[in-house]
């Protein structure tokens, strides 16, 4: 048995060695994709295009507005002179946010009454709008607090009489600077692995079928299990090398921290590759042509990607979809990858995910062995 597997392995590697474009295909696109998507995928909110309308022209209104401009979160693209200009800027999409201070603002403040700061925000991108509103609130609260304490001082109110302040001190764990890239780059590593390995495996086997060499192998004494091993081991090794390559790019180029143990990561990658290989072989057993395999992969991989929690939190999905995500191996792999990259947690925390990937992987590989046996008989 071992002999036959080794013979198959030698054949696979010879085939790969002769395929010159494969070497290029395996190196350049993943690295390029990682770099482009690593930069593109961000939900951070900096420099929100802002239009200002100051109808009060007072010292207070200028002070308040300068807090916004100096925060770095807002970038003034236009200083409007009327409400119409503000409306136009938002309608055309020139600005996402408008800050409006009406006449009499300073007077109200000085009298100790509540002075309104009007904020208009384009909610088309709900996420940006929500976060931008949060920053507006913070800056406004900071201004209000400072203004109140100066006012209190001026009126000689003692400390005991001042209204109480309760502040929230946030501590960000694992991603201290809230860098979007730290979240997405490890995710891209995991996702690229899945797309590459499933496509590679299914195309390679279907190609043998198309060319007719699959039948040739099947008439040799090689058994389906041996055939599967002979096919999976090379792709397993390639998959592993790919992960190492893109992980290296993630660490060196994007400087994402890697806080966990490489061994945990390696275990996670191995278990995930079982699922990816099983999926690839399974697809190849139901497809006669590469073209069919391409379409099938598309219809299979797309849902797996969408439901994985790569960008959109699983907890925000409807309950029914959340249950579906439980069979998605990428879901668990993402937790393992982000856990080892950012959280630095080990097997003691990640064992449920690792076990789930092992279960899914063994099931998929077992199914594909059964299907392969059938398709040969």
């Amino acid at each position: 048995m071992l002999e036959r597997i080794v013979a198959l392995l030698i054949k696979e590697f010879l085939q790969m060695k002769r395929d010159r474009t494969a070497r290029f295909r395996l190196l350049i696109p993943p690295v390029l994709q990682l770099i482009v998507f690593g930069y593109a995928a961000t939900f951070e909110v900096f420099g929100v295009s802002t239009v200002l309308l100051d109808q009060d022209h007072s010292q207070e209104s200028r002070q308040l507005l300068s807090r916004f401009t100096s925060s770095g979160r807002f970038q003034v693209v236009q200083v409007a002179d009327s409400r119409r200009t503000v409306q136009r800027a938002l309608d055309l999409g020139d600005a996402t946010l408008a800050l409006v201070i009406q006449p009499g603002f300073a007077q109200l403040l000085q009298k100790g009454q509540s002075a309104p700061l009007q904020v208009l925000v384009d909610g088309t991108n709900s996420n940006t709008a929500l976060i931008a509103l949060g920053y507006v609130g913070q800056i406004a609260a900071g201004y209000a607090q400072d203004y109140a304490s100066t006012l209190a001082q001026r009126r000689g109110v003692t400390q005991e009489q001042a209204p109480p302040q309760v502040s929230l001190e946030p501590r960000y764990w694992y991603n201290e600077n809230l860098n979007s890239r730290w979240f997405f780059v490890p995710g891209v590593v995991a996702t690229l692995t899945m797309f590459m390995v499933v496509n590679l495996t299914s195309f390679a086997i279907v190609r043998e079928r198309e060319v007719g060499t699959l039948e040739q192998i099947m008439v040799t004494p090689v058994r389906p299990l041996e055939f599967i091993l002979g096919k999976t081991v090379p792709f397993f090794l390639i998959g592993f090398a790919e992960v190492a390559l893109i992980t290296a790019v993630a660490l060196l180029w994007f400087e994402v921290p890697f806080r966990g143990s490489p061994l945990t990561m390696a275990l996670g990658v191995s278990l995930f590759l079982l699922s990816a290989l099983g999926l690839g072989i399974l697809v190849s057993t139901i497809c006669r042509t590469q073209q069919q395999a391409f379409a099938t992969n598309f219809f299979v991989l797309n849902p797996l990607f969408t439901l994985s929690g790569f960008a959109f939190p699983i907890s925000s999905m409807p309950q029914a979809l959340q249950w579906v995500t439980l069979v998605d191996p990428l879901r668990y792999f993402l937790i393992v990858v982000r856990g080892t990259f950012l959280k630095g947690i080990g097997i003691s925390y990640l064992w449920p995910e690792l076990a789930a990937m092992a279960a899914i992987g063994v099931t998929l590989l077992g199914l594909s062995a059964l299907r392969l046996q059938k398709s040969v008989d």
């Binding site: 593109a40 951070e44 088309t124 009489q161 309760v166 939190p313």
Partner: protein
């Protein structure tokens, strides 16, 4: 240019699509799958953040504050711990995303100094949910502080003026409920059309090459221009039908508001289809195997449309180089248009920049597509 020949080619193409289960799946199944899967699967709205509380003081005040977290719909208090170790385990293990720590001297500081603080420990692996969670926690704490003022310092507060000297009056336009679904789904229409259009047309010429029927076609009197128009006509129809289906689903099923004019959407959709189909055709003319053509088509549509069109990731937050690249991503223009027509109710005048982008693209692509095939006949 002979209309009869064009129609004949179009009919032949339509029959071929009908008989090809894979093409049918792409034309019919893909829009349904993508609309429902992404329509439900993609949401950035967060609620019920799993929260862990660590109350060091366990006083009436601290309990009152934590009760506010329990009753907020943004938080779900799943755990109460007695030390930092427990808190760390809960967040490390992913059981909780937020930990609220009330210090042991919380109410003493409040009475003695008039100021006190609570700590929020946020799992920032996902920086976006972390920012949102912290924002919601801030508002819970400020609401608590505001009510404390009312209760205990009513007299002083009145003397000082309003407790909050600055009132932020915020109004959200175009997507009043800040629903991420209303933001994602219009863009989905663009995504689906880009995929369907390019995947289907990328097969149209390569299929003829692979099956050896290309020589036959070339020997007929049909000109390359007629061939292109005839072959693309059915896909125009399919693309339009898919677009109509997606828009109907968006409005009828998902309840996304549609504030613009149907005419604006129709006109821009036709332009976008011209670009998408032209690209598919050009790919098909230059790559003679179906598998190669569809792989290239997927590479040119799927990921750029998903990542670089502003579909979900805001373009203005990308680095300058990537932002420059997005101008080449044709879906970018259409995504802008669809979102604006749906939510803002924009008309042609407001959309002149993206429309101009699509026009230029359509012109260039038609030229490239027409040339690509003429060359391969020779």
């Amino acid at each position: 240019m002979n209309p009869r020949r064009i129609l004949a080619i179009a009919r032949k193409e339509l029959i071929q699509v009908r008989r090809d289960p894979r093409s049918l799946a792409i034309a019919l199944l893909l829009p349904v799958m993508q609309m429902f899967l992404l329509g439900y699967g993609i949401s950035l709205d967060i609620a019920n953040i799993p929260t862990c509380v660590y109350d060091q003081e366990a006083s009436q005040h601290s309990q009152a504050l934590l009760a506010r977290f329990k009753s907020s719909r943004y938080f779900r208090v799943v755990k109460s711990v007695r030390d930092y170790g427990g808190l760390r385990r809960a967040i490390d293990g992913g059981e909780c995303q937020l930990g609220i720590v009330v210090p042991w001297n919380f109410s003493r500081q409040l009475t003695a100094l008039g100021k006190t603080s609570v700590q929020a420990i946020v799992d920032a692996t996902n920086d976006n949910t972390a920012t949102l969670a912290e924002g919601y926690a801030q508002s819970v704490v400020s609401a608590y502080a505001g009510d404390e003022v009312e209760l205990r310092f009513a007299g002083t507060a009145r003397r000082l003026g309003a407790p909050q000297p600055l009132a932020v009056d915020s109004r959200v336009w175009f997507n009043e409920d800040l629903a991420s679904r209303d933001f994602i789904i219009p863009g989905l229409v663009a995504m689906i059309m880009a995929l369907v259009g390019a995947l289907l047309t990328s097969l149209t010429l390569s299929r003829e090459w692979e099956r050896g029927t290309m020589e036959l076609l070339i020997s007929t009197p049909v000109t390359s221009m007629e061939l292109m128009i005839g072959k693309l006509l059915p896909y125009f129809a399919i693309g339009l039908a898919d677009a109509a289906f997606c828009v109907a689903l968006a409005v009828g099923w998902f309840g996304v508001p549609f504030r613009g004019q149907i005419g604006t959407l129709l006109l821009t959709t036709l332009l976008f289809l011209a670009v998408v189909l032209g690209i598919g055709y050009a790919i098909s003319a230059s790559i003679r195997s179906q598998i190669g053509a569809s792989q290239v088509a997927l590479l040119f549509t799927m990921l750029p449309t998903a990542m670089l069109s502003g579909f979900s990731f805001p373009i203005d937050q990308m680095p300058a180089v990537i932002r420059a690249v997005t101008f080449v991503v044709y879906a970018r223009y259409y995504v802008t248009i669809v979102k604006a027509v749906f939510l803002k109710g924009s008309g042609l005048a407001q959309l002149s920049f993206p429309i101009a982008g699509l026009l230029v693209y359509a012109a260039v692509i038609t030229l490239v597509a027409a040339r690509a095939f003429r060359k391969s006949i020779g």
